[in-house]
């Protein structure tokens, strides 16, 4: 881990929130940071125990970087109007995420919209811009 003390502290702070977990702890995601990514869907994995969006995002130098973006289980997405076919390879989208603490290109998806800003499914009870 790159920041062992900060990481341990963050993990310790997350323990009281453990009841929020479902399949696994969410301590690996930095809930203090919200990052917005715009990219192109490489693959949408409609899978248990988590769905994943593999998103190709250009970094500052213009190089394509593949992000692994975790979501809830398919049943939760289904209840919010998502379907296995809702994202297709090549589709441009924009997501807000809590990134991985370890700096790897990954995170947990909080909201997702089409490139022109339309909410995909019902991310939340009310849309968050």
């Amino acid at each position: 881990m790159r920041y062992p003390i900060a990481g341990a502290l963050a993990l310790a702070l997350c323990i009281p929130a453990a009841p929020a977990l479902a399949h696994h702890s969410m301590a690996m995601f930095d809930q203090t940071k919200t990052v917005t990514l715009s990219g192109t869907v490489k693959e949408f994995q409609w899978t248990n125990p988590h769905c994943y969006i593999q998103l190709m995002v250009k970094d500052a130098s213009g190089k394509d970087v593949e992000w692994s973006l975790e979501m809830g289980a398919p049943m939760y997405l289904y209840a919010k109007g998502w379907r296995p076919s809702v994202l297709k390879a090549g589709m441009p989208i924009k997501v807000t995420i809590n990134p991985l603490r370890n700096g790897d290109p990954g995170g947990v998806v909080l909201t997702a919209t089409t490139a022109d800003g339309k909410q995909i499914g019902r991310n939340l009870s009310r849309a968050v811009s």
């Binding site: 009841p19 696994h24 702890s25 248990n48 994943y52 979501m71 289904y78 991985l100 009870s125």
Partner: protein, 264 residues
Amino acid sequence: MRTLPLLATVAVLAFAAIPAGAQRAAKIPARLPDWSGLWVPEGNDTAISGLPEAATEARAEGKTPPPGGFNRPLFGFGAPWNEEGKRRQAARQGETANCRAQGWGFPMLMNADAPIQFFVTRDKVMILNAYRDVTDVRMAAKHPSEDDLWPTVWGDSIGRWEGDTLVIDTIAVKNPHDYFHGAPPLSDKAHYVQRIRMDKPHHLVDDITIEDPTTLTGPWKAHLAFMPAEGFERMVYDNYDNDRTECGTDSGIAPPKDEQKSSG
């Protein structure tokens, strides 16, 4: 007329030959409750993040999430743990980082943020969730004998009706925590009694009492409630084939599954 005594004898013998559990069927109400449809536990609305809706909304706006998370009384933070129970709870707290789970098991299937459904028949009630966890309730008077018990992560359940209340008695549950890391670390000697009823239209309640001489100082009582699941047109069951978590780590998620295959 000679046939009457014969028929009566046959009837008596036939009744006596019915297993004790099946005789219980006489107490089944003439009209069974209608609990059809899909139900979700109250207080567990889940966003696409897999996190509570309120927490996700706050995070998306860069705000501090509200305290508390899902409504999970069966995690056992308020249970009357004895010293062994406290030791197990403390150990559980240290193990939760990024652990895998194959489902919820019992009793957590009643407290998961997954929809459940009830199949109510005269001789059996089945409670089934989207993770394929099942409580198979026989309308029987007794559990199997000690020699015939088969402990599983879902246990052995028998039931009876008290009016419109379904009383489910469950034993022989393997330590739930061994199956789902968030479950209460009860022993396989735990005894669970659920009383499920519809207290008002479109609202089910489940009062559950757990006794476990190994881990609890006394009865642990919890109250659960269920409301109709919204957004589910049908129940879909799916297997687990994309678990990227690594128990014992807290740092990340494994590579995409296609990369795992190519590296393996």
